[in-house]
Assembly symmetry: C2
Homo-oligomer: 350 residues x 2
């Protein structure tokens, strides 16, 4: 059993402001070079290949490249490459593989096949010298330092930052780089309140299932918080965009049903608050991470985040309360947050 | 309270063989015409816009168009169109909107914006004369007859059939049309065993949560069975591809944990059986729909389906045991399968 004090997971959560600052400083030149090649090739769309936490980073990319760069994003469906031996035609695509370890065979196969088809390929990985780093035309290293805990935290936010940097470089927009430069401070404000969030998790010691909601850019946040809860506490945590949630799953909500929500400022705030108000009226118990008073007022457990975060960078900060909540719940349940049962750091899938 | 005997949901489940037969017979000429236009335009990729059950049909399309027609498929992320006002550039795309009712405003907006950008657009709907039917360049009507139950069943399998017909027409391959012609018989064999499946659901009367697994073409099946369970029984049912499940969520499984799996013959059978064997060793309780003895032998509750189904059409049949299981569970729990709480037939999202 890892004691709360010596948890590497907690240390890695707290390292995130520094990891994000370093990545932004050290890799901007590389990102600008990659963006120049992409602009020259003018891909019709982006295909992203990833699993688990990295796939949640890809979910962020789906909104990011769509909204900021007008590039549609298609998920790779790795089994098309590895099991059906029928990869789609990718000649005019930018294919991005994301993997913390750079070892996952199916992601590697997507990138290799895409490159052999003549598509432009990019790997985003924390594994310098890994097979994935070697496989693509270009590689963007997270420089996050070794991630020891099985539950990925700093490599998740680093993946988001890498994608955000690429999007800003493609857009050629200095105000976006300014937005990215403030992210480390936003996350530091949240990690500064870590102990309070861990403490707030105690109330949920006997929670067995929950849903996690957000929308748009932060759909990724809902998915990643749910995955952390599953990995670290073994509870069923079901993530949804608020729009998808209304098409059926909302039927699950009854009095006392726990709902965790990330509510960013910006274009989808009103939609999310509207749904949360309905769930609140039905007696759902809400845990809300937001800077918006209207959202926080609905929550039994409100978690304040910094005000004025541009929505497009907010996923890098809004996931942090969820990471801390999952960590706190693991501690409250007497589980080892550093070594979840049945998981290893590198998952091999084909 | 609807009694089991008069349930429209059960009637609509049982209608599926007839609905599939009719759609295949009546709409083939229309589908061939649409396919001719698509072949002429040579889209670089497909974008699909859908919510809820229709989005699970789109998940099938992702593998179908990828493996059979070498077309990458991107999900639409409707909020890019409706909330961020930043739709991606779609000039060279085929954009398909799927909606049973043809009324959902966000799906409608995606199709209208895509058409105004000059993309080729297609609506698949059961709503003749609906706004979605009018919005696209081409429309493919399901002809499923009115679907009265809130939980969609026959319009789901009809959506799969419509996509399957389009894929076969694009491939110009007569053996694929032969495969489609056998689907109604496959589903009829399963609906013929409806009472036994409904009866088998009784054992799960007090189940509060489960996961639903499959892979590849039948990833859609896992998602749709999970959605039916949530809508009709309010339990948490978490769907995964077996590959994604291994990247974290597998940590949830402990002794007695219920796992529902659809195991098709073909390219992903060995992967799924391998994972189910591991879960079986850990004491998970398995409900397995399959034609494969090796898969059925692992299950506490085995559900046999017809042998020899080509994998690419198998999702139209393998979902049916899940529909019947969800219906049977609703009855066992004393719930009204025709009128789930908090849901209405047409969900309006923006």
């Amino acid at each position: 059993m890892t004691s709360a004090e010596s948890s590497t997971l907690k240390q890695e959560i707290l390292e995130q402001p520094e990891v994000l600052r370093r990545l932004l400083e050290q890799e901007r030149a590389t990102v600008e070079q990659i963006a120049a090649v992409i602009r020259e090739r003018q891909p019709a769309y982006v295909m992203m290949a990833a699993r688990g936490t990295s796939d949640n980073a890809a979910r962020y990319g789906q909104y990011l490249f769509g909204a900021v760069n007008h590039l549609p994003v298609a998920p790779a469906s790795p089994s098309l490459f590895t099991r059906y031996d029928q990869p789609p035609a990718l000649g005019n695509a930018l294919v991005i593989g994301i993997s913390q370890s750079g070892q996952t065979p199916d992601i590697l196969k997507v990138v290799r096949d895409a490159r052999s088809q003549g598509a432009l390929t990019l790997s985003i990985t924390n594994g310098a010298g890994s097979p994935l780093a070697e496989a693509a035309d270009h590689v963007l290293l997270m420089n996050a330092g070794e991630e020891v805990s099985v539950g990925a935290t700093k490599t998740y936010t680093a993946s988001l930052m890498a994608l955000g940097m690429l999007s800003a470089a493609l857009a050629g927009d200095d105000t976006r780089w300014d937005d990215l430069a403030r992210v480390a401070d936003y996350t530091a404000e949240i990690t500064g309140a870590a102990d309070a969030i861990v403490k707030a998790a105690e109330r949920y010691r006997y929670m067995e299932a929950c849903v996690v909601l957000s929308r748009g850019y932060n759909r990724a946040t809902a998915f990643e918080i749910a995955l952390k809860l599953k990995e670290l506490t073994y509870m069923l945590a079901d993530p949804y965009s608020t729009a998808d949630f209304q098409h059926g799953p909302v039927a699950m909500v009854e009095r006392g049903f726990p709902v965790i929500a990330a509510v960013p400022e910006g274009a989808v705030a009103a939609d999310i608050i509207d749904l949360l108000s309905q769930l609140h009226e039905r007696g759902a118990e809400l845990v809300v991470a937001s800077a918006l008073d209207e959202a926080l007022a609905l929550a039994h457990t409100p978690i304040s985040v910094p005000q004025g975060m541009p929505e497009w960078v907010s996923p890098m900060a809004l996931v942090v309360p969820g990471q801390l909540m999952a960590y706190g719940l693991a501690i409250a349940k007497g589980l080892d947050p550093d070594h979840p049962r049945q998981l290893s750091k590198v998952t091999i899938t084909h």
